[in-house]
């Protein structure tokens, strides 16, 4: 446990200095700032109050860029260290593989979650200062959704990172994962539905299995369905399961999926050659 925290701390320090982290901060901080400047908060469009509209737009953008950010920066954590022989040296010290792997994971989690969470907070603070009401429920739900989105893609990234020996292959694999999941969020699903070639149940299942779609529907579910343009799949899901049940699922399922991948990665890390 002591070494696990040590690994986490060192990984946080190392990442916090790195260029990718700087870009990451800039992108999410800048995104929020951009929303302020363009005045998304000021307008009341289609019944949205300014602040909740701001947060929803933030979540919509996050769905697309957060996963790829997590994937490309994290897949190199183990595969990159392996390729550059850093792993050989660091693991020649008496640290258990458990502490090493989960410590790195914990460190990464802090590093990827903190900026997106802070940007969300920043938006809320700005909105409240501008005279909005503090949207407690929204803040809570969106924080939880961001947390579980981070968890699932970290899990997948660590899985790829331990399984693949070369950094380039790891990058390629993450890109494929991202594009695939992105392709199957609502828009593509509607296309399939319209073609009527696929069974509706099959499409719903696809939607429920895709953590990105689950996140999207979860984020949108806080709004009145009459007012939002949420897409038929999202509408169907919320209508069938109810908002609360779906939200619970939207938070827990990605965490569960991330944990499964993280454990598979850990298993591979222990059972395969380290170098």
């Amino acid at each position: 446990m002591k070494n696990l925290l040590l690994m986490a701390k060192l990984d946080i320090k190392e990442s916090a200095r790195s260029r990718w982290f700087f870009v990451y901060l800039l992108v999410f901080g800048g995104l929020m700032a951009l929303f302020f400047i363009t005045g998304i908060t000021d307008s009341v469009v289609m019944g949205f109050t300014g602040l909740s509209r701001l947060l929803l737009v933030y979540m919509q953008v996050t769905i697309v860029i957060l996963p790829i950010f997590i994937l490309i920066t994290t897949v190199k954590s183990i595969s990159g260290d392996r390729e550059s022989a850093i792993l050989e040296y660091m693991l020649s010290f008496p640290v258990s593989l458990k502490d090493y792997y989960w410590g790195k994971m914990l460190g990464r989690f802090v590093i990827v979650f903190t900026p997106v969470f802070l940007a969300l907070l920043m938006g809320v603070v700005y909105g409240v200062i501008k005279g909005g009401e503090l949207p407690w429920k929204m803040l809570l739900v969106y924080s939880a959704l961001l947390l579980s989105l981070c968890a699932v893609f970290l899990g997948i990234a660590f899985f790829i990172s331990t399984l693949v020996k070369s950094h380039d292959v790891a990058l390629g694999a993450s890109f494929v994962v991202w594009i695939t999941l992105l392709a199957f969020i609502d828009i593509a699903l509607i296309g399939l539905m319209l073609q009527n070639r696929w069974d509706d149940n099959f499409i719903i299942t696809l939607a429920l299995l895709n953590p990105m779609e689950v996140f999207r529907v979860g984020a949108i579910s806080l709004f009145d369905p009459e007012l939002t343009v949420m897409g038929p799949v999202a509408y169907f899901l919320l209508d069938t399961f109810g908002h609360t049940l779906f939200l619970v699922y939207a938070v827990l399922y990605p965490i569960f999926l991330g944990a499964v991948f993280a454990f598979l990665g850990y298993y591979a890390f222990r059972k395969k050659d380290l170098l």
Binding site: N3, E14, S18, I86, Y89, M90, S92, F93
Partner: protein, 212 residues
């Protein structure tokens, strides 16, 4: 101390370790030699628990390097063939070493001084930004400060200038009698005075094992 029994490690259908048998006793000072690709690094990595053997087994003081990696690595200091581009700062690296092994940071700094390396000026620098020789010296200092029962060096002097090399060999000659060392080296004449056993590997086999 270290027992390698009928070890086989295969990469892509070639036996990189081909039924290796080897016993390293307390106080053995070994030069491990052999042409490029003979399997020297692979043998060392197997002892350190990085590779899963295809058959046979390795024990370090009775412990399996994979099942009991912490127990095994507590007893070993290791210096790799090339210094890795570690991104941690020296302060962080020293913290990692001292917390994971129980070595005092002071001892590492002391050893570094004995290698003519003053790290106090570079503590905030990332390790990979040190010069090649400085990196090597620091790795040596860490390895010595750890006070391990077994030292394993994979060609440790490649980046050192002649003076630093002298220094390094001098420090090694001061090691306690009961410490075992295993050098991988291509320059036997340099370590001649420090060793009492020569092992020669080729094509994954131990082909010669001579006590001096």
């Amino acid at each position: 101390m270290i027992e390698v029994k009928d070890a086989v490690k295969r990469f892509l259908d070639t036996n990189v370790l081909d039924h290796v048998d080897l016993v390293i006793e307390r106080g053995d000072k070994i030069a491990l030699m052999g042409p490029n690709g003979a399997g020297k690094t692979t043998l060392v990595r197997s002892i350190l628990g990085f590779y899963h053997l295809d058959s046979g087994k390795i024990e370090v003081e009775g412990y399996d390097p994979i099942k009991n990696r912490v127990k095994v690595l507590e007893k070993i200091s290791f210096i790799p063939q090339t210094p890795p581009p570690i991104k941690l700062s020296l302060t962080e690296l020293l913290e990692y070493v001292s917390k994971s092994t129980g070595t005092k940071e002071e001892d590492i700094k002391e050893e570094a001084k004995r290698m003519d390396l003053d790290i106090s000026k570079n503590l905030a620098k990332p390790f990979f930004k040190l010069s090649g020789g400085m990196k090597q010296k620091l790795l040596i200092a860490i390895a010595l400060a750890k006070r391990s029962d077994i030292l394993i060096f994979d060609e440790p002097t490649a980046n050192l200038d002649p003076k630093a090399r002298e220094k390094f060999y001098h420090l090694l000659s001061e090691l306690p009698q009961e410490v075992s060392t295993l050098f991988i080296t291509h320059r036997i004449e340099e370590v001649e005075g420090l060793i009492n056993r020569k092992i020669y590997m080729d094509l994954g086999k131990v082909v010669e094992d001579e006590r001096l």
